[in-house]
C-alpha cells in the first residue's frame, strides 16, 4: 500500500534533473521508512499497553465485586432486615425496597418535567432556551453532594430527614440528563412528520403527542434509563436526606434505608457480617446499574438503526 509508491520504478522521463530529484526523495523516504515503521510499531505496543492498563483495573474491579458479592447473596439477604453483628440471618430487604421507592418517586417527579422542558427547547429558540440548555449542561456537572446539600437546605432543615427529600434530590440529579436526552431523541424525528401533522390541521400539542413523542419513545426510554442508572448509584445525596434506617419502612415521610447507604456504612466497619452485606449490596447495585445501562443502550442502538 504505502510502499508501492516508493518501490515503483521511476516513470521514465526525459528530464534527468527531475529524475534525480525524484530518486533523492524516494531514497529519503525509503531511508526513513524503517524508522517510521519502527516508531509506529513501538507506538502501537505502547498504546496497546495503555489499553491493557485501562482494562485491567476495570475488569479486576468487576471481578472482585462479583466474587465477594455473590458469596454474600442468599434468600435471607434479600428478604430480611439487618440483624445486629453476630446474629446471622440479616439482610438488606429494607435497603432494596428503599432504593426502589426513592428512585421510583424521583422518576415520577423528574420524567414529566424533563419531557416538558425538552419540548420547550425544541419548540423555542432564543435566549431562554439557550439559558436552559446551558443550565442543564452545568447541572450535569454539579457534584451530587451539592445537590444533597441543596435538598437538605430547602427541605430537611425545615422538616426532618425523610425519603421524599431524597427523591427530590435524585430527581434534580436526573433532570438535566433527561432534558438533554429527550431533546436529542425528539430531534431525530424528521421535519416531514411534524409538517405532515400540522398540515392535517392538528394543534401543536396534538402533533407532539401523537407523532413526536410516540416516535421518539425508544430515545426517551434510553435517556430516562441512563438518568436512572446514574441516580441509583448516588450515595452523597442520600446521606443528607434519607440517612438510612434499620427498620423496614414504606413511609416517605421517615428516614429510609437504601442500597448505597448500606454499602457506605457497612463497608467501612470492621465487622465481617456487615462487610459481607456491603459487598452483596455492592454487587446488586453494580449489576442493576449495568442492566439498566445495557437496556438503555440497546434502545439507543435500535433508535439509530431505525433512523438510518
Amino acid at each position: 500500500m504505502s510502499t508501492d509508491l516508493l518501490e515503483a520504478p521511476a516513470p521514465s522521463g526525459k528530464d534527468p534533473v527531475a529524475a534525480e530529484r525524484r530518486q533523492l526523495i524516494q531514497a529519503a523516504a525509503r531511508g526513513t521508512l524503517k524508522r517510521r515503521r519502527t516508531v509506529a510499531l513501538g507506538i502501537r505496543i505502547l498504546f496497546g499497553t495503555c489499553m491493557i492498563l485501562t482494562l485491567v483495573p476495570l475488569v479486576a474491579l468487576v471481578g472482585y465485586v462479583s466474587k465477594r458479592g455473590v458469596g454474600a447473596l442468599s434468600v435471607a439477604f434479600f428478604t430480611h432486615t439487618p440483624t445486629p453483628e453476630g446474629i446471622p440471618g440479616g439482610g438488606i430487604s429494607n435497603a432494596i425496597v428503599g432504593s426502589l421507592l426513592i428512585n421510583g418517586l424521583a422518576l415520577v417527579i423528574a420524567m414529566p418535567i424533563g419531557l416538558l422542558v425538552a419540548l420547550f427547547l425544541i419548540e423555542r429558540r432564543g435566549p431562554v432556551a439557550n439559558v436552559i440548555r446551558f443550565g442543564a449542561d452545568v447541572l450535569t456537572g454539579i457534584p451530587s453532594i451539592l445537590i444533597g446539600l441543596f435538598a437538605y437546605a430547602i427541605i430537611v432543615a425545615h422538616t426532618h430527614f425523610s425519603a421524599y427529600s431524597a427523591s427530590v434530590a435524585l430527581a434534580v440529579l436526573m433532570l438535566p440528563i433527561m432534558i438533554r436526552g429527550d431533546e436529542e431523541a425528539m430531534r431525530t424525528i424528521p421535519n416531514e412528520l411534524w409538517e405532515a401533522g400540522l398540515a392535517l390541521g392538528a394543534r401543536q400539542s396534538r402533533v407532539v403527542r401523537s407523532v413526536v413523542v410516540r416516535g421518539a419513545i425508544p430515545g426517551l426510554v434510553t435517556a430516562n434509563l441512563l438518568a436512572l442508572a446514574r441516580a441509583v448509584g448516588e450515595t452523597a445525596p442520600l446521606l443528607f436526606t434519607a440517612i438510612g434506617s434499620q427498620l423496614f419502612s414504606l413511609s416517605f415521610n421517615q428516614p429510609m434505608n437504601a442500597i448505597p447507604i448500606v454499602i457506605y456504612q457497612d463497608g467501612t466497619t470492621a465487622f465481617k457480617d456487615l462487610q459481607s452485606d456491603a459487598w452483596g449490596a455492592a454487587f446488586v447495585l453494580m449489576a442493576g446499574v449495568l442492566v439498566l445501562s445495557i437496556i438503555g443502550r440497546t434502545f439507543a442502538a435500535r433508535l439509530t438503526r431505525k433512523s438510518r
Binding site: E85, I87, G89, G215, V221, L247, L250, S251
Partner: protein, 443 residues
Amino acid sequence: MFGFARITRGTTEAAPRRNRTRWMLGTMVLAGGLIAAACGSSTPSAAKKTSHSASSSKTTTTTAPSSTSTTVAGSTTTTAAAGATTTPTTAKASTTPVTTKTVTTTPPTAAPTANNALGGANDFNTPAASLTGAGSTFDQPLFARQFYDFNKSDSKVSVNYASVGSGTGETDILAGSVNFGASDVPEPAGTTGSGGAILQVPVVLGGIAMAYNEPCLGKNVHLTGTQIAQIYAGKITDWNTIDSSCPTGSAIEPVYRADSSGTSNAFTHYLTSVDAADWPASLDGKQPAFPKGEGGNGNAGVAGDVQGGAGTIGYVELAYALQSGLNYAAVENSAGAYVVPSSASVAADAASFPGVSATNYLIVNGSGAGSYPISTYSWVIVYQKQSNTSNGIALGKLLDWMATAGQSDSAAIGYVPLPANIQTLAETTINQMQNSSGQPLFS
C-alpha cells in the same frame, strides 16, 4: 383527530414495542404512585403489617416478627397473628421465648397515663411505639442487641438507632429530632433543649480497647499510658521501641476519631491524666486536634481503619475489637499492673468510682490492681417532659429494661453489666419522666 394515530402507526416500525414500553412505564408509575399513596402515614401498625408480608417467618430484627400472641386484653394494636410463633434460627444462648406473655397489670386501653410502675426486668407491657434514637457509636453494638432482644419480647416497640457519634446525638436530641440521644459525655447540668429539661440515664459501661494491627506483635502487647500518649503525639513512631520483637522501621500509624466523640473524650482525658507533658489539657475533649495519624468515622470507622491498615493502632470500644478479631493491648493501670480490657477489669475500674452521676462521669485511671484504666459510662438523654405519652412510657420501660435485665447481653459481647448503684441511679432518673402536663409517667 384519531385518523392521525393510524397514519403515524404506519410510518414507524416500533408499534408493538412502543405499546409494550408504554405499558412498562405506565405500570411503574402507577405502582410507585399507589405505594406512595397507600403508605403515606408512618403508623407503626401500618409499617408492621406490610413488613409482615415482606419478611419470611424467620426472625426479623427490630421490626415486628411475624407473630406474637399476647394475652393482653384489648391492647391497642394487634400484630397480625398469622403463623406459628417465631423460633430464632440462631443458636443464641439466652433466647427469651417469644410466646404468650400473660401480663398481670391492667390493660392499657384508656389513655395510658395511669400506667404502671416501672416493672423492671420483665415488664413488656408497653404501648406501641416506633422510637428513633441517635448518638454514640460506643453503645451501638450493645444497643443493637438490646433493641433486638426487647423487640422479640415486645414486638410493639421498634427502635431505629442512628450510630452517628455522641456529638451528633446530643445535637439531635436537643433539637428534638429524635426520641432519645446517646452520649458518652453527659450534658452539663441545666442544659435544656427544644423540649425543655433533659434527663440523663446511665445505660452502658464499657472499656476502650487499644486495638492494633501489626503482625510482629503478640496478642496483647504491653503499653503504658505514657507510651500511648507519645504514640498519638507522634513522638514514638516505631513499633520496635515498644516491643523489640518487631524489626526497626515498623511504622506506627495512630487512628483517631475524626468526628465529635465521647469515646475520644474519655480517651484523651485518660492521656492527659497520665501524661500531661505529652498530652496537654488542650487536647482533651470530644474532637481535639490530633497531631498525628488518620481519622476514622465512628467507632466502626476506626476499627475498620485499624483492620484495613498496617501497623495501625486505634481506640475502640472492646466489643468492636472482639467482633472484628483485632488484637488489643494490655494497658498499665495506676497500680502498675498491665491489664487487658474485660468485663472484670472494667468493672473493677468502675467500682473505684462509686459516686458517679451525670455531673461526675469520668472513670478513667481508677485504683485497684485489676482495673482497666480506660473505661467509661454512656448515657441516654431524654426529655423530662414527654410530649407523646405512649412514646414516653415505651421509652421509659425500654430504658428500664436496658439498664436491668438487658444487661445480660453486655458481658457476652464486650461490655460490663452496670453496677447495682448505677442501676438504681438509672431507675431513679427514669422515674422522673413526666407527661406533657408535668405529671409523672410512672407511679
